[in-house]
């Protein structure tokens, strides 16, 4: 047969390779999807058992303040009010983001606009180094340095939202900074050139042009940092005091969803109410990380439409 005809009719080696590669990719992707779905199913089935199997009212779970799943309150209902932990988690996350944002954006502006060479040579490696430090180290420094300082300045035990905020601020700072740098670097050079050509000063260019057009990217960076702060367990657990109480001020012991979860899980029996209640906390955490993810998506899409 004509070799040209043959090569046209037969599936080529390259096409086979491509098909195999596609199959492999599809397999990997479906494996990941499967794992995620399995995690959701597992957490949800245990977390929802609190409400279906143990007949806890969802509203009570979200709004009551007494957390002591092993004991019953005056109405004979187990005390599973998760509000103190939910409030604690949100407070440390929001405060940490509030404190970290100005520092991160300031550092990012310095690194990209003001002194790119020195910024990239010194600041970038330093922030990257901060990312690599394990969270237990942050927690330990928080416990031995931050907590005693807060105790001397404000009284009390030193454990609480303030100590948690401080530790988380340092932990999320590098993430937010490096993502902000990326966002600022993505602003086209000709925006700056046009702005300067119109007679704007450097500060006006940064403030009115660069920061404005990088806003979606900066927001993504902040939300990313918040997601990390919300899910951090170990370092926060070491400095927040882990009291399932509504925080009355920033220096009274409080707790987060993660800290109560990691502390309690080893002491409970699978399938018991105490265990299910902890899984419900895990479900809230999972849903919140989903919300953060969607938020990042949403910001990305909005920003993309603008430009």
């Amino acid at each position: 047969m004509d070799p040209i005809r043959e090569s046209l009719l037969k599936v080529s080696h390259q096409a086979k390779l491509e098909r195999r590669g596609r199959l492999l990719g599809l397999f990997c992707i479906s494996l990941i999807v499967l794992v995620v779905a399995a995690i959701f199913y597992f957490v949800a089935s245990h977390g929802l058992a609190t409400f279906y199997h143990d007949k806890i009212n969802l509203w009570d779970f979200l709004t009551k303040q007494a957390w002591n799943p092993g004991t019953k309150d005056s109405h004979g209902v187990p005390a599973v009010g998760a509000l103190p932990m939910i409030v604690g988690s949100f407070l440390v996350t929001i405060f940490a983001a509030l404190v970290a944002t100005p520092f991160a954006i300031g550092a990012a502006i310095f690194m990209t606009e003001i002194s790119p060479r020195r910024g990239m040579q010194i600041l970038k490696p330093v922030t990257e180094l901060l990312v690599g430090i394990p969270s237990v180290v942050y927690g330990f420094i928080g416990l031995t340095v931050v907590v005693p300082v807060i105790r001397q300045l404000f009284g009390g035990t030193g454990f609480g939202i303030l100590a948690g905020t401080f530790v988380l601020f340092v932990m999320i700072l590098p993430t937010v900074t490096s993502m902000s740098v990326d966002a600022l670097q993505a602003v086209p050079r000709y925006y700056r050139e046009a702005s300067l050509a119109l007679g704007a000063t450097r500060w006006q260019t940064i403030y009115k042009v660069v920061l404005r057009s990088a806003t979606p990217g900066l927001l993504t960076a902040i939300v990313f940092g918040m997601a990390r702060a919300f899910g951090e367990a170990l370092a926060v657990q070491m400095v927040i005091g882990n009291a399932a109480l509504m925080p009355h001020n920033l220096v009274s012991p409080a707790s987060t969803l993660t800290s109560i979860l990691t502390m309690g899980i080893g002491n409970t029996i699978m399938g018991s109410l105490e265990n299910n209640a902890l899984w419900s906390l895990a479900l809230i955490l999972l849903l919140m990380s989903l919300v953060f993810n969607l938020l990042i998506r949403l910001i990305g899409r909005k920003g993309a439409m603008k430009s």
Binding site: N242, N267, I269
Partner: protein
């Protein structure tokens, strides 16, 4: 060209298969012995780990894997049959959700638990009533129980922790503890009590060091001798639970735990009290009997 690539690939697969076979062969010959896994109580973990290591070095090819995870983990894992032994600080009957009738209890050690306070509190002796009032939140300043004018800061272990369950069982006697800060580990508790003025908590005797102060309860000092006579009441057995009667390596290892090398040498070194030294016996309901 194509033929060569195919040949190469076949060669590669054959090599991989061969090495896999040799590897598994190697493993099975080295693993001829057995291994068992023990999980649970972090209070008992150091002892079982040390004993397991010693056992492994004395009996070649036998491996004892020891993991922590807490008493709850130990009990639920042994109930499911996932491990050979589940360690617990509390009786299986005391944990809800555990069917204790299938489990066999091996009490290998006794642990005394003492209240510890920050050194600046200025209290050396408390009655059970005072201790209860402190942990339920009725007393909030050390002045009210004879100490300095300092607010009382409670530090608890995590809910369901064996140490906490034992302490609350014998001190609070059913009363509800005041909601206060909780810590996951005894090491953390010790550090906080040592550095926070007015702090009080509780821990096993073996963890007490110079940085914290112990107190006498109702005139009785927290010593090993007082535990063996039950004059010091805040103590618990350390349980190793098996699902049904132990067999094989599990049985041998539990026997080893009761041997003199472990009970008389290793236990006192690590701060546990050998069960053999107990002059009394205490059952699940707290009834004390004197064995013959």
């Amino acid at each position: 060209m194509g033929g060569l690539a195919v040949k190469k690939r076949i060669l590669l697969i054959v090599t991989l298969l061969l090495s896999l076979i040799t590897l598994t062969a190697c493993q099975s010959s080295a693993d001829r012995g057995e291994s068992i896994t023990i999980v649970g109580s972090s209070a008992l973990q150091p002892l079982v780990e040390a004993a397991g290591e010693q056992y492994g070095s004395e009996h070649l090819g036998k491996f004892i894997n020891v993991q922590g995870g807490g008493s709850g983990t130990g009990l639920s894992q042994i109930q499911e049959g996932a491990v050979a032994i589940g360690n617990s600080d509390v009786y299986a009957e005391e944990k809800r959700g555990i069917k204790a009738d299938q489990l066999v209890d091996h009490r290998v050690a006794v642990v005394g638990i003492t209240p510890v306070i920050n050194k600046k509190v200025g209290v050396t002796d408390l009655s059970f009533a005072q201790l209860k009032a402190i942990f339920t939140g009725q007393v909030t300043n050390w002045r009210e129980v004879g100490g300095h004018n300092l607010p009382i800061i409670l530090v608890n272990r995590a809910q369901g922790s064996g140490t906490r369950v034992t302490f609350e069982k014998w001190v609070l006697r059913g009363a509800q503890a005041k909601q206060a800060q909780e810590q996951e580990s005894t090491g953390m508790v010790r550090q906080i009590v040592a550095t926070t003025p007015g702090a009080i908590s509780y821990m096993a005797f073996s963890y007490v060091d110079k940085t914290v102060a112990t107190i006498n309860v109702a005139g009785v000092a927290p010593t090993e001798h007082n535990v063996t006579t039950n004059r010091w009441q805040i103590w618990s057995y350390e349980h190793m639970y098996t699902n049904g009667q132990p067999k094989g390596l599990t049985k041998d290892f539990i026997k080893y735990m009761y041997s003199d090398t472990i009970q008389e040498k290793m236990l006192p070194q690590l701060g546990y009290i050998p069960v053999g030294r107990m002059q009394i016996e205490r059952n699940l309901n707290g009834q004390v009997t004197v064995p013959k």
